[in-house]
Amino acid sequence: MKAKVLIRPKEGILDPQGKAVERALPALGFEGVSDVRVGRLVELETDDPSKLDSLCEKLLANPLIEDFEVQLEDGKG
């Protein structure tokens, strides 16, 4: 089964990458965009989706600084 894992900086943690993107936007004519946060997307195939949460906690995300969200391809999850 295909799955996507979205990993984001935890709320409250300064995300300088998001800030830099946000600051660049007005110069390009994109006004009114705020709260930009930059994270990661991991795509994978798994035989056992029940293990995805523990896989994320142990490796794909660092729970101290990142939140993750698992999306299975069938739309559930």
Partner: protein
């Protein structure tokens, strides 16, 4: 004998061995080795282990050497993690907190002043509280972070080992923290590079005291 772990992508392991050899004996330890017998102390050096893929230090923690180092640390063996080594130890859960990309998003490379806190363990024993050390930093992800309540707890338990002196914080780390220890004090991690500060020729020998802490243990053991 001090063991210096070498991962694919490490780059400061030879300087670390050279620094150890100023105060004792040292050898490299390949990341696939899991036999630490005969070693009295461990250094996890700087560099870009496994290309810093995913997050700095995230993959290295699963190497056979690191699993052995975790057992070594649990038995009270002294472990010093420098820069990427600090990141690896945090990812492995052997040290509190995590290292985030620098606030300024740039690689920083400069000499900084550190102030030693009142901390315990073999490292604290070598470095009096309040002393200042001049040691270089060179990193991209050095912004140490832990939630406020965790930092409060670490401060009261004496686990904050070093802070950047006022005006010297190069990365935006929480409360200017530059290095922390585990609860027992035998594991220390810091972003600055003491192995690059062991000879007056390169500006400072303030880093030697940390290696002395490792060697002292070697002699005693």
């Amino acid at each position: 004998m001090i063991g210096v772990v070498q991962f694919p992508g490490s780059c400061d392991e030879r300087d670390a061995v050279a620094a150890c050899e100023r105060v004792g004996e040292a050898r490299l330890l390949w990341h696939e080795e899991s036999d630490l017998s005969g070693l009295d102390a461990i250094v996890i050096p700087g560099g870009f282990s496994y290309g810093d893929y995913l997050r700095a230090g995230a993959i290295a923690r699963f190497s056979p050497a690191m699993e052995a180092v975790a057992r070594f640390a649990a038995d009270g063996g002294p472990v010093l993690g420098i820069c990427n080594g600090f990141q690896v130890l945090c990812e492995a859960g052997l040290l509190p907190g995590a290292l985030l990309p620098n606030e300024g998003l740039r690689f920083v490379f400069r000499q900084v002043e550190l102030v030693a806190e009142d901390f315990g363990g073999p490292f604290g024993a070598e470095i009096p509280a309040g002393s200042t050390l001049s040691i270089p930093v060179k990193h991209m992800s050095g912004r140490w972070f832990a939630p406020d309540e965790d930092v409060d707890r670490l401060e009261s338990s004496g686990q904050i080992a070093f802070r950047y002196a006022e005006g010297h914080n190069p990365n935006g780390s929480v409360r200017d923290v530059a290095g922390v220890t585990n609860e027992a004090g035998n594991v220390l991690g810091l972003m600055p590079h003491p192995e690059h500060a062991v000879d007056p020729l390169t500006g400072s020998e303030d880093g030697l005291s940390l290696f002395r802490a490792l060697a002292t243990r070697s002699v005693a053991a």
